[in-house]
Subunit: 278 residues, 4 copies
């Protein structure tokens, strides 16, 4: 087989596997999406005891078929890509590898349960496929807005954590073991549950003093829930503004230089200095 | 009956049923609103066992009277509208049909309970009546803001879902069956309950490791609750800006041309060029 | 006593009771604030059975002293004000009256418990006193922002209610009586508890189907919690902008007319048209 | 020892303890950070009964070593600083003192448990160390935004509190002791738990009337959760605008004066008046 021919065969496969512009590429992505979701559903159903007892053999077979398919896909990805090392050590390369390894490991180690979490990581592969859709532009904006507000969010989260540790200690001392505040770590856990307004109710204050302090913590939490929202909101608004012009502009056009976009209160053209049409 | 006369009779009915400008039209809307709410209240009360046992016959009769009234209304709507097909297959046309069918089906199939949900759909009809009120303008703005931010919200919801699936698997492995995390689907359910800060408390971690992971999930949820709020807020702010001009305007009125809405620092009228009153 | 003298005596009392500029007026407000809070604390403690059993007599005496003090104050307010009718039928006039009546009614009817809620209304009187503080300006802004976004919030709340009724019906049919979804009203109650992310946990789905639907409801609630926040935020931002100028302005001052507040890119004074100082 | 030499020795120590620019200063901060976190972890583990029973001696020794280290550090801080009084009565001075005192007090009074909360305050010292990082700028912005919106938040919190007191009284009357609404203070506690959307579920309405009122409270809470978020968001946006200029600026640089940051539609350099490069 001549080198050129083989190379063209590889570039065709590359187009199918990595891109989504051709029909075959789109089909490949759809099939891959389907298999990934199927494998995740399988992981879920496998964890349900009654189902696992009944359909164990089916689950076992399906898991192996999917794993072998993923292995073939992984090998093809390495073969067709120009810089295999770059791919193997990239984020998606590692995720792809982790999608196949756990099943092989069960042959050596046994204990399928142990690898359930790793197998659930296959879900991350979905992101690559959806990367091609139009949603990714929006996603980028979101990620940027979050990145821009990261230092603020860090400060905020740290403050919340310190608050939880101090408040948790206070609650442990006030409530003691009556309401389940047995030790400080569990009181801090309760404090986080409360400040985030989740409120499971497994632990809750029973003494009047504890309930009073809890009330203060809750109102505090209510007040500070505003902070991250405000930050992201402001950051996101600013991000959007860099694209649009926030200056009041009317539809006047200068008679001399045809310049438009004059400010609403402009008397003279900012372009050529001549008087503007009233 | 001459064609013209009949046509005018139909157009009059059309005015009453579809519009709300005339007195009869308003009255029709009010009566319809009352009957719809009555029928919904009926559905609710019917579901209360003790009430249904006692007043079954009354409920039965009232349901049939309402159904027949809705049927007559539906027929009239088809007769009076110019393009019946367009109406029948429109959103409200289908809702109107679904408001009458379930009761008739109970004659054939029995099992009233089964159609409760369909009968509750009658509530959607209220939206048509309220469409006429001044609130709809606001509603349109809301819908537009939501539509504009749909792709972002989709990306966001998908990210949350992936997070829930991975975190749910981890919690199932860490907590096992001690805290009720029997299988992955129920762990994912718990994860959604927690991330959305609902926190029923039917399932909750009991091991220290599980509580630590839960704390991370909750603080994460606290942080990402900011994202959709920020998106809608920014989108809505942008929407508002496109309509209103953010220029500081005072209450001066030009003595020459009576033009108002002058900028705060304007000396000359932007309308006629004459000097403004200080 | 000459009319003039009496009138001046009344105007002095008016100043003390209604205003807070003089020293006596401030003192009166402080004493009143103290008595109101004391009366509210009394209502609370009275409701605690163990305390009421022990200190019933003290509570009874204190309640009568406060009521008589409020009665005297109410009479003085009527006497000193110029248009008594206007005061009596104003919001605060009615609140003041309701602060005294319940205690007298217990003489006729008995059953103190019944009037607890009315006596708690005394708290509203605090607002009048705080009206004098600097906070009221902010409060006005808040009220205006809320008023401006009222129609939007109405549409929003109505949509949430319709969603709750339909989803509640669905949950009643899916869960039946297993998880406590005995009838539609209680399912709607659960739906509101869930959508608002409160999540008591007294009722919660137990069937897989119910938990799946509940997950959808929760994620939906997570998404739509953004809407009212976005509305108020945008409305409030706009409100603030009407006061501040959102145009980029530099500190240049025109040499000819001394006009300041020129736009950052202005070449010519927008006031007199002369060239600006570089 | 000559005065000068001693002074230079003191200023060197001051640099190490108070600043973080030199290598020794950075190292000191890192060691301090480690010891503080260690001491907090110690407080937490000590509160866990089973651990305390087993490792009591270790905890005791470690606590004394840390306390002595903090004491030495405190003395050094006083010696090296120029105005010791200013430091001692500053916020961090008091926190530093409180980090050492509780352990010494246990020698006199006994009852370690009592001082757990004070020892947890050591965590506040972490803030000083992190003050040096780049995050503090963001933190300042956050604090300013919160300070600016303090009066609004005060009005808001007060309104929420009044609402809770009145609604709590109503719930106590409607529910009585069936759902746990034994007295008004506990009903107010429940009201705060509900309005803040925490919802522990330890107390919850059981009568239809109580559930109806609870629904209204929850929807209300859902609506007003928007207010603080909107406030902080608007305040934060405004804060950001005062620092950054919201003018659309392109990357053009004037050929004559090298001035950058020209407006997008500028033809002439606003710095030297020469024509800009297209």
């Amino acid at each position: 087989m001549p080198e050129e021919h083989r190379s063209s065969w590889r570039s065709k496969l590359h187009e199918i596997i990595y891109e989504a512009d051709t029909r075959a590429g789109k089909l490949f992505d759809l099939v891959l999406l389907f298999v990934i979701i199927l494998s995740i559903v399988l992981v879920m159903l496998e964890s349900v005891k009654s189902l696992n007892a009944q359909y164990f053999e089916w689950f076992y077979k399906a898991e192996w078929i999917i794993t072998i398919a993923f292995t073939i896909e992984y090998v093809l990805r390495i073969i067709t890509v120009k810089r295999p090392k770059h791919y193997i050590f990239s984020f998606y390369g590692i995720v792809d590898l982790l999608s196949t390894i756990p099943t092989y490991l069960t042959l050596l180690v046994g204990g399928q349960n142990l690898f359930l979490a790793v197998r659930a990581l296959r879900l991350l592969r979905v992101f690559r496929i959806l990367k091609i859709t139009r949603y990714i532009g929006e996603s980028n904006k979101l990620v940027r807005a979050l990145k821009d507000s990261r230092p603020k969010i860090m400060v905020f989260l740290f403050t919340v954590l310190v608050l939880c540790i101090i408040m948790g200690t206070v609650m442990h001392l006030v409530e003691g073991e009556q309401g389940g505040f047995d030790n400080i770590p569990i009181s801090i856990y309760w404090c986080i549950v409360t400040l985030t307004t989740v409120g499971f109710g497994d632990i809750h204050p029973v003494t009047p003093a504890g309930q009073a302090i809890a009330s203060v913590i809750m109102i505090l939490g209510y007040g500070i829930i505003a902070v991250p929202t405000g930050i992201v909101s402001a950051e996101y608004t600013r991000d959007m503004k860099n694209n649009t012009i926030p200056v009041p502009i009317n539809s006047q056009v200068c008679r001399v230089c045809n310049e438009s976009k004059h400010m609403d209160d402009a008397k003279y053209c900012h372009n050529c200095g001549s008087k503007l049409n009233e």
